[in-house]
């Protein structure tokens, strides 16, 4: 049985499915120029320099990176264009940047600093027509609207405005439709109550929201390890999943997540030099040490460096 599933996994790797892949996205939360681990939108632990995190995520084969500066709008600052430039140097996957964007010109300067898409959040709550303006210049596909979702006191999910710290009257489905009508290309649903909780994606809520629009949806909030992604892709037909915290705390986290997913789903992109498809994991989804005889055999395998 084990051998069979291993062979199946290997076969999947060899025969890349011809289709659009599910995207595994990393969100980097930036606060005052530093990547932080966010817990429930109110506690933040420093992780490190954003350019280092981006370089690692890129090398580990992430499908897309979302950079969210959570201090810009709150402090009434514009996006930090120089920081984006620094970060983008080592980024050869799509980079979406959010935080502090207020005008079409901000978007222009961001795309001239290394951003490939932009993420809008509170600016849409204040002035939804800005989406139209940006789309007229940069196209709908350039705009991701980030929607923070939170349970209210009656346990009903609502759109959370992190600036006023209140839940909007407009229900999430109506708000998502409004965003689509005004021209966003994608919606990032961020489940605030699950932020930093490691309790998995909110499958029920995702399923109740995902079909109200016909644009791609990215979900975020609660990912603990690859099992959270398995659960999500088994139980929803969502296009893309993002996580932020867990990637930072284990070596090669992205490759391991993708290797595990690839054994269950065809539509995962695995193109990194080492794939870890044959490695065993420990209970915390970290790579286990290989057996001594396997390590010994490795001595005689010549691994050529990948040449571009």
């Amino acid at each position: 049985m084990l051998v069979l599933s291993f062979l199946k996994g290997l076969l999947r790797l060899l025969n890349d499915a011809i289709m659009l892949k599910k995207r595994i996205i990393a969100t980097l939360i930036i606060r005052e120029g530093v990547v932080v681990q966010s817990i429930g939108f109110n506690k933040y632990l420093p992780v490190g320099k954003p350019q280092i995190a981006v370089e690692f995520l890129n090398n580990w084969g992430i499908d897309e990176i979302v950079l969210l500066d959570i201090s810009a709008t709150k402090s009434n600052l514009r996006p930090d264009f120089d920081l984006v430039k620094k970060i983008a140097k080592k980024c050869f996957v799509p980079l979406a940047v959010g935080g502090g964007i207020k005008t079409v010109n901000d978007v222009r300067l961001l795309t001239q600093s290394g951003a490939d898409k932009v993420v809008l959040n509170s600016v849409c709550i204040q002035n939804v027509s800005i989406i139209n303006e940006i789309a007229a210049s940069f196209g709908n596909q350039c705009i991701i609207a980030s929607v923070d979702l939170k349970m209210d006191s009656n346990n009903i999910i609502g759109v959370y405005d992190y600036i006023s710290k209140s839940i909007m009257e407009l229900p999430p489905i109506e708000y998502m439709k409004l965003l689509e009508k005004n021209g966003v290309g994608e919606i990032l649903l961020n489940f605030v109550d699950r932020d930093g909780q490691y309790n998995g994606f909110d499958i029920e809520a995702i399923n109740s929201l995902k079909d109200c629009v016909s644009i791609p949806i990215i979900v975020q909030g609660g990912a603990k390890d690859y099992c959270s992604f398995v659960d999500l892709f088994k139980n929803t037909n969502i296009d893309a999943a993002a996580a932020s915290n867990f990637y930072h705390f284990s070596e090669h986290s992205v490759i391991i997540t993708k290797a595990q997913l690839k054994q269950l789903f065809d539509s995962i992109r695995v193109e990194t030099f080492s794939t870890y498809i044959q490695n065993k994991l420990d209970t915390r989804s970290r790579l286990s040490k290989k057996m001594d005889f396997e390590l010994e055999n490795l001595l005689y395998i010549k691994v050529e460096k990948e040449i571009i």
């Binding site: 890349d16 499915a17 011809i18 289709m19 659009l20 892949k21 599910k22 995207r23 890129n58 084969g61 499908d63 897309e64 430039k85 983008a88 140097k89 980024c91 050869f92 996957v93 799509p94 980079l95 222009r108 795309t111 001239q112 600093s113 290394g114 951003a115 490939d116 898409k117 789309a135 007229a136 210049s137 940069f138 196209g139 709908n140 596909q141 350039c142 290309g185 994608e186 016909s214 644009i215 791609p216 949806i217 296009d239 893309a240 992109r269 193109e271 990948e306 571009i308």
Partner: protein, 205 residues
């Protein structure tokens, strides 16, 4: 080998320049006529709406400069995303607009015949012509990053690759003499994209 990325006030110019620089080539982002004329290869980057893109080219007189360089002097050009779509006769994106008209074809909205979402966003495999110099170096690395709601509808003879989205075929690249275009973003397609750039640049050196 001098490469000029056309600056028309749109597009992810930094990302494209960054990828080309990483490969060690001499590259500049510019809208200056002299620099465009001195370059050996032109790149027209993407990320933009069609109408604004063609308007910006006209505003900077780049449509005439490019016409002369590409059509008269036969300089090689690579269009990316909307940069490729601009080669078409017309586009239906937000109205109906005239393009540069270099390749007989029209840009149309992607209408999937199932429940697939539009825009077409993410990594997709392309099926490519092995003889095309665009793909001389990629081997079996055929996963590229797409992000578009409109596609280039043209005769098969201009297509050097396509990808499948649901059950529709999407033009992934076009070629006509010295004119090359890709719908996906090589600058954002990791090693596959870097290999595409390197193979293409080395082939025309």
């Amino acid at each position: 080998m001098k490469i000029a990325i056309i600056d028309y006030n749109l597009g992810n110019t930094y990302s494209v320049a960054n990828a080309i620089k990483y490969l060690g080539y001499d590259v500049e982002i510019s809208s200056d006529e002299k620099k465009i004329k001195n370059a050996d290869l032109l790149i027209l980057p993407g990320v933009g709406a069609f109408e604004e893109a063609i308007k910006n080219l006209q505003l900077l007189n780049l449509n005439n400069i490019l016409d002369e360089e590409v059509i008269v002097n036969k300089k090689k050009i690579l269009g990316i995303c909307v940069g490729m779509q601009l080669f078409a006769k017309t586009s239906d994106e937000k109205g109906n607009h005239k393009g540069l008209g270099w390749i007989d074809g029209n840009v149309k909205k992607i209408i999937p015949n199932n429940l697939d979402k539009v825009p077409h966003v993410g990594w997709n495999n392309i099926n490519y012509e092995k003889t095309s110099i665009l793909f001389s170096r990629i081997g079996d690395m055929n996963n590229f990053y797409f992000d578009h709601g409109f596609h280039f509808d043209c005769e098969d003879k201009y297509k050097s690759s396509f990808c499948k989205y649901g059950d529709i075929k999407i033009t992934s690249s076009v070629e006509k003499e010295n004119i090359f275009g890709v719908q996906f973003h090589p600058e954002k397609s990791q090693n596959a994209g870097l290999k595409l750039f390197k193979g293409f640049i080395e082939a025309i050196k």
